[in-house]
Point group: C2
Amino acid sequence: MLAALILASVAGLASNAHSVEPPAKPVTMQQVLEASKPSDWRRPDPNDTLYLDLPGGRVVIELAPAFAPLHSANIRTLVRARYFDGLAILRVQDNFVTQWGDPDAEDPAKARPFGQARRTVAPEFERAIAPNLPFTRLPDGDVYAAEVGFSHWMPAARDPQAGKTWLAHCYGMVGAGRDNGVDSGSGAELYVVIGQEPRQLDRNIALVGRVVQGMELLASLPRGTGPLGFYEKPDQRLPIKSVRLAADVPQAERTPLELLRTDTSTFTALIESRRNRRDDWYKVPAGKISLCNVPLPVRKPPAQAR
Amino acid sequence: MLAALILASVAGLASNAHSVEPPAKPVTMQQVLEASKPSDWRRPDPNDTLYLDLPGGRVVIELAPAFAPLHSANIRTLVRARYFDGLAILRVQDNFVTQWGDPDAEDPAKARPFGQARRTVAPEFERAIAPNLPFTRLPDGDVYAAEVGFSHWMPAARDPQAGKTWLAHCYGMVGAGRDNGVDSGSGAELYVVIGQEPRQLDRNIALVGRVVQGMELLASLPRGTGPLGFYEKPDQRLPIKSVRLAADVPQAERTPLELLRTDTSTFTALIESRRNRRDDWYKVPAGKISLCNVPLPVRKPPAQAR
């Protein structure tokens, strides 16, 4: 009852939350999305959008320059130099990550040149809490961090005492692989989370963005049988056709999509619809939702708006 | 320092936790496992072990009769009648579940007969807390439940106020699909979790066991493109060669394996080794670990013990 009232109030679906009438009918995620306004949605900046084109189709990645500006800039430089074209997916470790880059990165004679890109980038594992990193807090709690929520439309965490904030390793988040040195990552080798949230990686490596479409192409690959899930034979690797910035692709070849904003009452209502499922199947509403279980909806732009 | 002392004490790796000497060298999971004793390991009961044989190899599932006795019994009956042989994997929904059963289950003319098995089984979504359901609590907290930990070697949760306990939907957990009716499941259609923990399913459906080997075979399948990830065309389904109880398979065809017990000081040390990683790569130990991130190690039995 309380949850329904909060929801109705937040979602604006009841005209008066103090009414003595019964609370508005509880809503499902689909109903929340159907009731959303055009202003609840955003289109990612083409300069922050990567197309990873694989034999099976396109993966769309949105970069997170607010959290990883140096890595994002270096990735743009690499992409514009066509660094990734013809490289490969090298590693698929079950319930952990899929990773791609240069199979010959360790061999100076064969490694692909970096051109104008930097070979190492300063660590961007966390940032100071600041006004340019707004934070919509999720009130449900978290095992790993004092506060969790969403910042720049991605799952994030904060430690107010330390004054730090960082992106969180949820399914679909993309990071820049590194060796033992904290500045040994560059964005030339990237990974995506394909299993249970490996939150122990938080604050230890730079997350640079999120897959917003095409996760199934990266999550359904055969697992590598070598240590850490690396493919043992070159012909097991999946070749990368190309990686492009959306801004560099002709309009007709772009993948139009819109993402639900995470700082709106619609998003709050969506979270509530998932915290306490209301379809006929669920018998015991969970009452809570963990950060990485909050869906971040993506849609094709409505026809009239194209 | 504190963590290292607790670990050394728990793992028995320091002779005296009150020593003024520096704490024992922090250990990795590999070191914990190498220091384990034979008694830290157990072999699953062949009467509770299923072999799901697919074209790509064998998946080994351990049933959880302590939590789902009726479902376990019905699954054994179905398996012994070879109900599953020649059926198929029907559904793979990205970041959610892989599901298998009878493609013609809804068609009375074509559905495979149940024989002596029951078509519906009473719900076993949770159980009363009782001495036969011992619980090793994980002190790190949880978003969804008052208490989480391990019971009968599987991830579990408890609500002491309600006096209830239940298995938790972590990666690799196996459940019995059902329709809207709480008793509409039978074990004839099973699913396994292949993504971020769908903990909202807890207490809403019967978990019947856990995949202990071969998860990569179920997690790397092409995602279905129909609603809920069902395959749209019959030829997209992956055929099931057979499902057998290990007890019914000749010794030479069984898959020997041992699982780490979850009620030992070795398991406590293992959790600590994962809560605070100590290899050269990690810079900021997480300090906490969530239930579904705790590894449940499996090994081939040592040669001398076979």
